[in-house]
Symmetry: C2
Subunit: 322 residues, 2 copies
Amino acid sequence: MRAVVFTGAGANEIVSFEERADPSPTGGELLVQVRYAALNGADLAQRAGRYPAPAGSPQDIPGIEVAGVVIARGETARGFEIGDRVFGIVGGGGLADRVVVHERHVVAVPAALEDAGAAAVPEVFITAHDAIASLAGLRPGELLVVTGANGGVGTAAIQIGVVSGARVLATVRSVDVRRDVAALGAEVIGQSDLVERAQQLGGADVVIELVGAPNLESDFGALATKGRIVIVGTGAGVDAEISLRTLMGKRARMIGTGLRHRPLEEKALAVQLFGREVVPHLATRRIVPLVDRVFPAEEAHAAFDRMEGPGKLGKVLLDFGE
Amino acid sequence: MRAVVFTGAGANEIVSFEERADPSPTGGELLVQVRYAALNGADLAQRAGRYPAPAGSPQDIPGIEVAGVVIARGETARGFEIGDRVFGIVGGGGLADRVVVHERHVVAVPAALEDAGAAAVPEVFITAHDAIASLAGLRPGELLVVTGANGGVGTAAIQIGVVSGARVLATVRSVDVRRDVAALGAEVIGQSDLVERAQQLGGADVVIELVGAPNLESDFGALATKGRIVIVGTGAGVDAEISLRTLMGKRARMIGTGLRHRPLEEKALAVQLFGREVVPHLATRRIVPLVDRVFPAEEAHAAFDRMEGPGKLGKVLLDFGE
């Protein structure tokens, strides 16, 4: 197989592209042939040495999700046949053209979704769905705020909010992509206008925070009584100052999340819930994954640069070829 | 009736004791004759001008709970008879010998509980039970940490944790009362030993924070994966510095709470759950309220001084006489 490899910790100087022996599926695992693989913020954190893969996952091959075709099965795997298209999450090793994954960590890709679109889905939609539905318990009619909403998780969160019957308010820094984000069904504003606009709308019931600590003061200002802030991304900083008076006065909740280091059964639960509650909307195209750009897998360094830059709209993919 | 009255905002110079006209119960309300009334941290905050009573409650008479005998009923009240002993919560006006309260905001006092003990129960046990059971969802076998555990809410929280099948670790600053707190069923340590001891025990699943912002760094350090911190008291400060990396890495939750400003139906729900899940243990004396000291109601200023001082063990009461 061919894979993106991190040879240490740092920036693009530690990113290489290598030929490796194919992994073998055992037990309930599947071997998946991959055409497209998507990057995530987690890969940037891992490149910097801040986010190692969990034990049992490949340590030097980044990538936390998989989409492709089943080409081999472990001896007890029985949920899929050879040739089935699947997508889901892995602890590591996703940026490769062959990936081993447990069969309960994937679900079937609907026929309506082409391969590049499928690759843009699992990590960000599972993360957004888990945060919105399972952690925050969003209810129809509530006001969902998504901050830094133009990336993969943000564009997923907006669409999940819309199909869940919520009103959705999104903050986006780059003015260039605000219209595209609004087309997903959100009202789009800058973070500096969040408190005033959210309060005009009755206060935010759920905030999906994708930027980090600098946003928290305005997030809390925007919150309604019993509002919930789920911390999903912290690229702009992790050291937050919180007023416990506001937290108590609003009876608010602040919830931290992350998929990668969960026990296997909790990951399987999140994936299967995504299969039940999000995939049907992908099948009817009521939810549509957004692909920002596709880079040849050998040019992973350029893809990482794009990930770090501003103004993305959806996911950055690697193409491993036919 | 006779009542403690706040004539402004400040310290004990604004505390007076006055004769007022009796309040009248209407609708589903009861008029309760009170012998003993308990102080709470909320009364100190209200005295300082920081915690006004909600609209519809007496504004200048402090006191957020009631225990006593029903002496009159509104025209639609039907849950209790004249002469029944009840206890529960009010938005204000509790530090008086006659208090009006909605019948869904009280439950019956068990016969095993004498009047002073009953007065020491409602606010702190309802607060602790709501925080532990409804907000944090404590499960049997989990490790419950209660900080600053020698006061009213703390001694209630320990006992609710014990009857719920949790292991309980309590932090208490004053060495003098640690043995008494331990007798409630907790291991008692200083806050500075919390991180090490909690981690030895597998990490804290639930922290009931009763001191405030200065404790949060050690609270988070003590937390297990998926741990929940409920912020109930903040006497030592409200400006907290939080690491979102820790919050995410532990998939932790920080939850703010307060009973006083909830809508009436949410207060009723908390009181009725307390009636079902705590009162049976008061009836069998498996849970016992702690009374620190009783002051004549006319000496409320001395009772407030005691509330502010260190080393309390349970509740400070006012005695309105027979």
